[in-house]
């Protein structure tokens, strides 16, 4: 009996050691050959979120030497996809695309009844900032953002401003702008950039709020004027358009697209994925493809992205009640 129990103890000890070794080996050998990484995209195939993720997935495959498969799980403004990521096994083989502020809205808005919390995710890296812009029709009397704000102050709630949807980045940017400048606009929610832009060109609304990628065509044809970019630097796609920061308004926003792992994914694996994304984003092939789509690469590693993640958490939490008025 005694011998047996010693044997038992030894076996248990060995098993424990083996598990430990296996775990560290798991991190070192990640990703295993022939084991595909699933990248969950909570949006339909063909959109710009999906396109960016697919370009990155292609680049990562070359760096990591294993398949990176994009799985589209659209629905509930990305919430179905985020749920899948939060509930996945934290082994690095399931990661997901996240779009700020959208993902944070689903967490902070009690009406959305999300099955996940802010801490259920481990940010990996930021890929893109599709910065916000404010645009008016080319023949509009508003030559600068100041003209627009002055008129809004003179006639509160009379100047119409579009969003591409309720609680999107555009919506939060308008709310921030109102807070910063003490103005009030009549906010009109459209569904998508197409219908909102049509309304601007047809003079149904005074100002359009959307992302850089959505205004390239109309700016090129001379139909619209962009009053500013919500970023710390000018957009390479909109030469000559000033940032709002340089015009004295500290307005930063747009869609930040990055990648999340479920919380509890080992740090080594997160760092490895983050580094692989960085390398992929630096290759000429990926750069050229992103450039064509008007997607501005803005890499952040896990640490910086987590900071952004946290700051958006508090910002969105504060603005949620305002977004429902």
């Amino acid at each position: 009996m005694g011998i047996l129990s010693i044997r038992k103890c030894a076996a248990i000890l060995m098993a424990v050691c083996l598990v430990g070794v296996a775990a560290s080996v798991g991190a070192q050998t990640f990703p295993a050959k022939n084991k595909a990484i699933t990248l969950i995209v909570g949006f339909s195939a063909g959109g710009s979120s999906d396109a960016g993720a697919r370009i990155l997935a292609g680049g990562m495959e070359k760096v990591l030497g294993t398949k990176v498969e994009v799985l589209n799980k659209p629905g509930a403004s990305g919430q179905l996809g985020y749920t899948m990521v939060a509930q996945a096994k934290p082994d690095g083989y399931t990661i997901g695309l996240a779009s700020l502020p959208g993902v944070m809205v689903s967490i902070m808005d009690p009406d959305r009844k999300a099955a996940y919390k802010k801490d259920d995710f481990q940010p990996i890296a930021l890929q893109v900032l599709d910065a916000g812009v404010i645009a008016v029709k080319a023949d509009s009397p508003y030559k600068t953002i100041k003209d627009l704000l002055d008129d809004a102050k003179a006639r509160p709630k009379k100047i119409t401003m579009s969003t591409t949807g309720l609680q999107t980045g555009d919506h939060f940017s308008i709310l921030q702008l109102q807070q910063l400048t003490g103005t009030q606009f009549a906010i009109v929610h459209f569904d998508g950039a197409g219908t909102a832009m049509t309304a601007l060109l047809g003079k149904k609304i005074n100002a359009y709020v959307g992302n850089v990628g959505d205004v390239l065509s109309q700016l090129k044809s001379g139909d619209i004027r962009v009053l500013g970019v919500m970023d710390t630097e000018e957009s390479p796609f909109l030469p000559g358009v000033k940032t709002f920061e340089s015009q004295g308004i500290n307005l930063l926003g747009g869609s930040w697209r990055g990648y999340l792992a479920p919380a509890g994914t080992p740090k080594e694996i997160v760092d490895k994925l983050s580094a692989a994304m960085k390398t992929a984003l630096e290759t000429e092939e990926v750069k050229a493809a992103m450039d064509k789509l008007g997607l501005h690469i803005r890499y952040m590693d896990a640490k910086d992205y987590t900071k952004l993640w946290d700051s958006y958490g508090s910002m969105v939490k504060e603005l949620i009640p305002l977004s429902k008025q």
Partner: protein, 504 residues
């Protein structure tokens, strides 16, 4: 005649052997995507974009646009033969198309649909070549207020879709509006009728709903009789009779015009075009009672309208750089990936490509006609399969289709639920067309009304300030009054009380 000159140059590009091949491949893939239920044009086009990655931009765009409008041809086939819509825009074709098939006129229905699609596509493309400028101005006049008025006009056509009982039709119309409310409130963000289900946040997916209502309920109904292994539908002549051709001329002409105009307006979908065409045809028909019993007008109009819509929706992409529908947004992505920003300047900067692509629309539509007419004979043979075998295939087809829309098992259950509902509706003689009409138009009606209110900060007078909106609202009133006058004598005989109060 600059446009004509440019177009001829375009043909020289589009008729190059390589581009001809891409137009053919695109048309063939498009038809296939249309036939497969669940894979809609947007997802289908997105999935096939990698196929074109290695082509030159002209070839790639020619192929992808052909896939896009090709789906409109394919969607009809399963609607007519199996009562399972391959595409949302072909759903309404089930009603009369499948009835025609049961009467042995499947070949005729498919041929008329193909010819109508061809004419509709051609019409929209000619409009793009010669009238793009003025038409675009018209589209820009449509803001939220005008949208709302147009939706009201559409819904007023609902009364015309009633069967024997106006009360039942109105009940179904309201049920459709209620179902359209499921999902997140578009202004306040509150969940409505979602029962805590995340899958319902974006509202009901339309394709599983109609698959259940039409396809599954049909199987349930057939299962009441013994599933006789020898029973199969008749396969009559493949060629439309002179009568059928004559009856189709008007619907095809109106469908072309309606589809093209709706295609121009960003936010209008192909299914709206086909449903409005169907409702209009029934409204103006001298024999509205034939609708639902296999009226060829109920196939010719909608099938023309949805294809005209598909080609018409490309006009704002070229003239404004705006994607008018989700599928065109996918196409726009393909333009961008090829380093092209769609917009009016493309005509200046890259005339070879633009006019080549436009010319390819003519060629693609001809290819689709040539491809589809002889195939009619092949497709119709499907009806010779004994029903006891066929129904299992249809069922499998529908389950895969419902799942495929969003990779979601939830949608399969939605389809099953609506299959049972559809069966009950049929048993108790509730007409489904009014419900589907309001289900399609309802969300856009609500959104455009609330958008108008956001613009005016709650002042209703904005709805009458626009001449277009006022005109459309007056037209709706006329439709309502004439429908009421027409229906009134019929309902009074059956139900003396109740019918008056329904009409306010």
């Amino acid at each position: 005649m600059d446009a004509l000159h440019d177009l001829l140059m375009g043909f020289s590009v589009a008729l190059a052997p390589g581009n001809l091949l891409y137009a053919f491949l695109g048309s063939a893939f498009g038809t296939l995507i249309g036939v497969l239920p669940g894979i809609g044009p947007a997802a289908g086009t997105a999935l096939l974009i990698p196929l074109t990655a290695r082509l030159d931009p002209t070839g790639a765009i020619i192929m992808l646009t052909a896939i896009f409008y090709g789906t409109q041809y394919g969607g009809t086939i399963t609607s007519i033969l199996l009562n399972v819509p391959g595409e949302a825009a072909s759903a309404i074709t089930c009603i009369d198309g499948h009835k025609m098939a049961l009467k042995g006129r499947a070949g005729a229905a498919l041929s008329i649909a193909a010819i109508g699609s061809f004419i509709g596509g051609l019409f929209a493309t000619i409009a793009l070549v010669f009238l793009a400028g003025p038409l675009t101005k018209l589209a820009l006049e449509f803001g939220p207020v005008e949208f709302f008025a147009l939706m009201i006009l559409g819904i007023s056509l609902m009364m015309g879709l009633a069967g024997k009982s106006m009360v039942k039709a109105l009940m179904m119309g309201i049920l459709g509006l209620l179902l359209a409310m499921v999902g997140m409130d578009p202004v306040r963000g509150a969940p409505r009728f979602t029962f805590g289900k995340m899958e319902l946040m974006d509202g009901l997916n339309f394709v599983p709903v109609i698959m259940g209502l039409f396809g599954l309920s049909d199987i349930l109904e057939n299962a009441e009789e013994s599933l006789d292994s020898t029973k199969s539908a008749k396969v009559g002549s493949l060629i439309p009779s002179r009568e059928e051709v004559k009856d189709s001329v008007g619907p095809i002409a109106r469908g072309s015009l309606m589809g093209t105009i709706l295609g121009l307006i960003p936010g209008m979908t192909g299914s709206m075009a086909s449903f409005l065409s169907y409702s209009t045809e029934k409204k103006i028909s001298k024999h509205p009672e034939r609708f639902g019993e296999g009226a060829v007008e109920g196939v010719a109009g909608p099938e023309t309208a949805n294809n005209a819509h598909a080609n018409g929706a490309l006009i704002p992409l070229f003239t404004l750089g705006i994607p008018a529908s989700p599928t065109v947004a996918v196409l726009m992505g393909a333009f961008l990936m090829n380093g092209l920003i769609p917009g009016p300047f493309l005509f200046r900067e890259n005339p070879q490509l633009v006019w080549g692509v436009i010319a390819s629309f003519f060629i693609g539509n001809v290819i689709l006609l040539i491809l589809n007419l002889p195939l009619v004979g092949v497709w119709v043979k499907m009806l010779k399969i004994p029903y006891s075998i066929l129904f299992a295939v249809i069922l499998a087809f529908m389950v895969i289709g419902a799942y495929g829309v969003e990779n979601s098992v939830f949608d399969v259950f939605i389809m099953l639920l609506f299959g049972v509902l559809g069966y009950l509706f049929k048993k108790f003689d509730f007409p489904m067309a009014p419900m589907i009409l309001t289900l399609i138009l309802g969300p856009t009606m609500e959104r455009s009304l609330r958008r108008s209110m956001e613009m005016s900060q709650g002042d209703f007078s904005i709805l009458f300030a626009s001449p277009i909106a006022a005109g459309l609202l007056i037209a709706s009133l006329i439709v309502l009054i004439t429908s009421a006058l027409r229906v009134f004598p019929g309902t009074r005989k059956k139900a003396t009380s109740g019918s008056g109060s329904d009409r306010k």
